[in-house]
Symmetry: C2
Subunit: 335 residues, 2 copies
DNA sequence: TTGAAAGCGCTAACAA
DNA sequence: TTGTTAGCGCTTTCAA
C-alpha cells in the first residue's frame, strides 16, 4: 500500500471539509448540488476511492461474510461458494472464501481469521469439531449457518438434504428392479453425510430382506483416490451386481477403475452414485444418480444468514432453523 | 459486529498497557516472560482476537491480494484460484477472489473494490478493457500480474501459454496422420486466446497445403451452450473427419452433441480439444487434448506478484516480465 | 447546508 | 522492560 490520496486531500482540493466529502461519498442529502458536483469532479479527476478499511473500522460493520467449505475444487462446494456469493452480492456484501479442507485445525485457523476480520456472519460446512470456538463466536453475536452437516453440541441454523431417505429410496428402487448383491463404497463413518447415506443403504437392504454383508462394503474418505482403490479392492474380490458410491469424488475414481477393467454397465454391473456432476450425464450410458439441490443449499443458507445479520437481536432470539432440502433420485441408464 | 473486546480491555485485565499487549500479540522480544504469560493467559481465557481491520489501517499494509478470474466454476479458473491461494498462504497473505465473468463492467467494479480495500497486489485474467484504470492502479504502486492473456496498452507482468504454437503442432500432427477435412469450433475473435488458437488452426492447414474452408468453422463464446449448438450446426451440415474445439467448456457441449448423435470416435469423427479437464480421460475413448499447465500458470503469476510486493520500489523498476509456459499436446485415443 | 472534532482499535516512536 | 501518546482514514454527532 503506497502513499495514496485520502479524504482530507480531496477535501482541500474541493475546498470543503472532510465531512462534506464523506457526505458526498455516501450520497447523503443536505449537500448543495453545486458543492456535490465540485466534490464529485475532484474524485473523478483523481480516481480517489474511499479507504474501505478505515470505513469498516469507524462503522464497526464490515459488510462481509465468511464462507468455509471443504474444497473449492469440488463441483459440490464450488457451486455452494458461488451461490452464497450471488446472494451476498445481491445484499451488497463481500464474501471471504476459505478452503477448510475438512481439517479441524484448518477450520479453527480460518474461524480465527474470520473472527479477526470481524465478518458479520459465517457459513460453514463444518468438520464437526471446534464446538467450543463456534459456540463462543455465536455467543459474541456472530451468526453462523451450517451447511450440509451439523456440529454436535452447536445449536445454530442449518441447511442440509435428506441423505438417508433419498439413499434408501434409490436403493430400494434398485433392489425392486432386481439387483440383489449390492456393493457399497461408503463415506467415512465419522462424518455426518457418510453415516446417513450408509444408514440409507442398510435400511434398503433390510427393508427387502437382504442380509447385510460386510464383504460388499468399503469405507472411503470421499476422495477420488479412495474411490479408485476401494473399487479395485471390492470388485477384484467380490462380484456385486450393483455398486453404490456415496459421493461424486469417490464415484469418479470408482468409475475410472470400472472403465479401465471394461465392465459393461449396466448389464454386468449396475452403477449408482450420490451427487450429479457434469460427467455423470456425459458418459455412456449416463449414470443414474442422487442429485442434490446444490445451488439451493447455498442460497438458502445465505438467505438465512442475511436475515440474522439484518434483523440483529430480534431475529436472533428465534430458535435455530433446521432446513432439510430434498435430494432427487434421477433414473438414467446405469441401473 | 457486536460490542467486543479490544486491546485496552485486555490490557486492564492483565494489568499492563496496550503497548505491552500489542508486543505480546506480535511476538516482540523485550517483554518479561512472566508478563508475556500473564497477557497470554488473559487472551486465552477471553478468546480475544486482534482486530485485523484496525491493524491494517494502522500498518498501511493489508497483507491481502486480489484475484479476478472469469468464472470460478470452470475447471480452469478454479485451479488458477487455488494455485494463487496456495502461494499466498505460503507468504502469509490472504486472498480475495472475484468472479469477473469476462464482463468489462464487472471487472471495473471488482478493480474498484480491490482498490478500496487497498490490496497489496492483483492477479487478473483481464477482459482486455479497462486499460486506463489498470494503468492508474499500476501508477499508484499496486503491482498487477496478468494471467492467460494481455490487455492492450497495459504494460505489466504477464504469464500465459503458447496458444498458437501448440495448436499448430497438434493439428499438424493430426493432418500428417491423415485427417483432411477439419472442422473447428473456435473461440471469440475479440479475445486473445480465441484469436491465437484460431491462428494455430489456420497455420496448420496452410502448412499442409489444405485450403481454408469457412464452412468448416464456427465461432463460439467459450461456453458449453455455444459448443453444443455450434457442433450441431457444423456436424449437421458438413462431414468433417476431425473436429477441433478451442476450449473445454465448448468441448463439453460439442462432445455431448456428438454422443447424442452416436458418432463413433475416432473412426467416424476424430475429436481434439484445447484444455484437459477430468472428463477427457474418463470417457471412452479418452480424448486427445492440448493440456495447459494450469496450476503452474497461477503459481507462477503469484510468485511474480509477491516478488513485486516484497521488493517494492527496487524490483518495480525492472521492465515487465512476459512468461510463456508450454502447453502440452497429449495424444490419447480420440484421433 | 457546512465544519470542527472525537474516536473506531491498533502500532510504533519515544520516553522513562 | 514498560508506558504514553500520536495518528492511520474515515464517519458522525453537535454546533453553527
Amino acid at each position: 500500500m503506497e502513499k495514496r490520496l485520502n479524504i482530507s486531500e480531496i477535501a482541500s482540493l474541493a475546498g470543503v471539509s472532510t465531512a462534506t466529502v464523506s457526505r458526498v461519498l455516501n450520497d447523503y442529502p443536505y449537500v448543495k448540488e453545486s458543492t456535490r458536483e465540485r466534490v464529485k469532479k475532484v474524485i473523478q479527476e483523481t480516481n480517489y476511492r474511499v479507504n474501505a478499511i478505515a470505513r469498516k473500522l469507524r462503522r464497526k460493520k464490515t459488510h462481509t461474510i465468511g464462507v468455509i467449505v471443504s474444497n473449492v475444487l469440488s463441483p459440490f462446494y464450488s457451486v455452494i461458494a458461488k451461490s452464497v456469493e450471488d446472494v451476498a452480492i445481491k445484499n451488497n456484501f463481500s464474501t471471504v472464501l476459505c478452503n477448510g479442507g475438512d481439517k479441524p485445525e484448518k477450520e479453527a485457523k480460518y474461524l480465527e481469521v474470520l473472527h479477526e476480520n470481524r465478518v458479520d456472519g459465517i457459513i460453514i460446512s463444518p468438520t464437526g469439531k471446534n464446538k467450543d470456538y463456534l459456540n463462543f463466536l455465536l455467543a459474541s453475536g456472530i451468526p453462523i449457518v451450517f451447511i450440509d452437516r451439523p456440529t454436535e453440541g452447536v445449536d445454530c441454523d442449518i441447511v442440509m438434504v435428506n441423505n438417508m431417505d433419498v439413499t434408501f429410496n434409490a436403493l430400494d428402487f434398485a433392489i425392486k428392479k432386481g439387483y440383489k448383491k449390492i456393493g457399497c463404497i461408503a463415506g467415512p463413518q465419522d462424518r455426518y453425510t457418510g453415516i446417513e447415506r450408509f444408514k440409507g443403504y442398510k435400511k434398503a437392504l433390510e427393508n427387502n430382506g437382504i442380509a447385510y454383508d460386510e464383504s460388499l462394503v468399503r469405507f472411503g474418505d470421499f476422495t477420488y483416490e479412495s474411490g479408485y482403490s476401494l473399487a479395485r479392492e471390492l470388485l477384484d474380490s467380490e462380484k456385486p451386481d450393483l455398486l453404490f458410491v456415496a459421493n461424486s469424488d469417490m464415484a469418479l475414481g470408482a468409475y475410472k477403475y470400472i472403465s479401465e477393467k471394461g465392465y459393461k454397465i449396466p448389464h454386468e454391473l449396475g452403477f449408482l452414485m450420490f451427487d450429479d456432476p457434469q460427467w455423470a450425464s456425459l458418459v455412456t450410458p449416463r449414470v443414474t444418480v442422487i442429485s442434490q439441490p446444490v445451488y439451493m443449499l447455498g442460497s438458502t443458507a445465505a438467505d438465512i444468514l442475511f436475515k440474522r445479520i439484518m434483523e440483529g437481536g430480534q431475529f436472533m432470539d428465534q430458535s435455530p432453523l433446521k432446513i432439510i432440502l430434498e435430494a432427487k433420485f434421477v433414473v438414467r441408464e446405469s441401473i
